[in-house]
């Protein structure tokens, strides 16, 4: 097991955690990104008890005959924010959907590999998939609050769906809305309709909704791409605050966002065939000293 890991991952204990200042890279076009990334304070490892973490090992995904994702192995450290970047169509969304077993809703879907949540494979036979989804939540690209429910009902919808009992619903309601950065704006109109909010507010409502079932991991599939810049900024703030209690994995097209928000970044690429993960590392390193030429070309804007 240790062989396999070190051979594959080349475990490197130590460097990546220091918040490095931008070094003298001659490539200046990514410097602004790395400056932004460097400005984020890197989290301390192991200081939060957030479960042992989520790990993908050799994950492949197919849609019928089409091999969409190839051999992705990634570790997600508890309490961190990991951004998945890369051009359209290279499998990022497909990948995160394998992490909460939403991939299998597509009729022709197939997969291979393992996804370990707290050390156990979520695809093992006999696993209750609804329990997995309680621990690994998801926020979608287009905000989708339940229109027939009020704001309060929306936030607590997860409890109703999974029939979870909670001691104090009002406390949970306030806590989730607070964590999502929405409490102040809606606390006086909790019985208003879910659909009466603006786009950015609706998305934060969806975040609050996902938090109510107390997930360990929150997957976000381009959560800001349908929103205006003002809302986007608010959601990025939310993500920063969230990361202290939830592990966040965010797919984004926007490199600046990845630089602003994430601790680690993974770069995905497809050359017409299945998507693969090319490189992963601390965000400021990916943007300032990418190890792979393809990564460098992408983050410097040569393509994509």
């Amino acid at each position: 097991m240790a062989d396999e890991e070190s051979a594959a991952n080349g475990i490197n204990n130590g460097d990546e955690k220091s918040g490095e200042i931008m070094n003298n890279s001659t490539d200046l076009s990514s410097s602004s990104l790395s400056a932004v990334a460097a400005a984020r304070k890197a989290p301390e490892p192991g200081s939060k008890a957030l479960g042992v973490g989520l790990e993908a090992r050799g994950v492949h995904a197919w849609f019928g005959e089409k091999h969409a994702l190839k051999n992705v192995s990634l570790d997600f450290w508890p309490g961190t924010v990991t951004a998945l970047i890369g051009p359209s169509g290279c499998g990022k969304s497909t990948f995160i959907r394998t992490l909460n077993r939403m991939h299998e809703f597509i009729p022709t879907a197939a997969m291979a590999g393992e996804v370990l949540l707290n050390g156990e494979d979520i695809y093992a036979p006999g696993v209750d998939v609804t329990k997995i989804r309680l621990k690994v939540g998801m926020v979608f690209q287009k905000p989708n609050p339940f229109p027939s429910m009020t704001i309060a009902e929306n936030v607590l919808a997860g409890l109703k769906l999974a029939q979870l009992k909670v001691e104090n619903r009002d406390d949970l309601l306030e806590e989730c809305l607070e964590r999502a950065g929405l409490w102040k704006e809606v606390k006086d109109r909790l019985s208003a309709h879910g659909g009466s909010l603006s786009g950015g507010q609706q998305q934060r409502l969806c975040i609050a909704r996902s938090l109510a079932v107390r997930p360990q991991v929150l997957l976000m599939d381009e959560p800001c791409s349908a929103l205006d810049p003002g809302s986007t900024l608010k959601i990025e703030e939310t993500i920063s605050h969230l990361s202290s209690s939830v592990t966040v994995i965010i797919v984004t097209h926007n490199m600046q966002q990845a630089a602003r928000v994430s601790d680690y970044t993974a770069f995905f690429l497809s050359d017409g065939g299945p998507g693969e993960m090319v490189e992963v590392g601390p965000t400021n390193e990916i943007f300032s000293r990418p190890k792979d030429k393809r990564t460098e070309n992408y983050v410097t804007g040569r393509f994509g």
């Binding site: 989708n144 339940f146 999974a162």
Partner: protein, 331 residues
Amino acid sequence: MSLTQENPVIPAKRALTTKPRFSDKVFRGVVTAGGLSSLVILGLIFLFLLSQGYETIKSQGLYFLTGSDWVATLDAAGKIDPTQSHFGIAAMIIGTLLCASIAVVIGVPISVLSAIFLTFYAPESIKKLMVSIIDLMAAFPSILFGLWGFFVLGPSAEYWARLLHKYLGFIPIFSMPVDFYSRSPFVAGVVLAIMIIPIVTSISREIFAQTPLDRIQAAYALGATRWAMIRNVAFPYARGGIVGGSMLGLGRAMGETVAVYTVLNIIYKINWHVLLGAGGNVASMILLKFGEAGPAEVKALMAAGLALFILTLLVNSLADFIVNRSSKAGR
């Protein structure tokens, strides 16, 4: 006219005109006439039934709808003697509503469950097969249901009716004044239920299939089981459409003629005991009486037909309105 003008004038919009060719005018005329034919036909039906049934309605007044007697007495000239004749269709209207209601109570739950199965549970191959079977059932002639209902279902339905009476006989509609179970409104209701299953299933299925995918996925992502998703997302969305579909089924059951005629023992009396073999609906009553009716009495039957026409028109229009409104609302 220079580009440095301070306040450029925006020119007025030009009118776009085409002079339609003669052949196109003719085309439009013909097509519009064809399209309006439905209006013409419906209007004519109303007018002709009214003109034939008018005397009856006039002479009977409100009794036509509230009375339960059908007695045609002819005077010396062979015309209907208005003072001696009574034409009241209340019994048959109640029978219509009774049979149709039983059909809806039995048929709609089965249809909705089937629609949910087909939309959310069935694997593709089974779904195709079942949909074909259900659509085929919609094409079966009603006399087939009538004969089958009389010969095949009848004995079994009679047995079920006895069971119902044995265990639930304390409920008024299940009580029995005499021990006569065959050819009851209950049996007719069951046959009608089977006849409306294809329509209601088909409409429900279409509505369920339109449930917005993002809401379904949001529910699953929150850890919902399939049942929890259906209960909290799909069903609230489809509710209006299902009501509309059920009303269409109700309308169909109300107007059914031959199947009810064959299965039900038509007796001209109000009968609330659904397990008792006596009843009728307006359509089958018209058919029954037509055989022996002289031309004068037929006019009264026309009046009954008018009543049925208006009733089914109202129910179907309401149903269409509900279905259209719910599929547009997309809530």
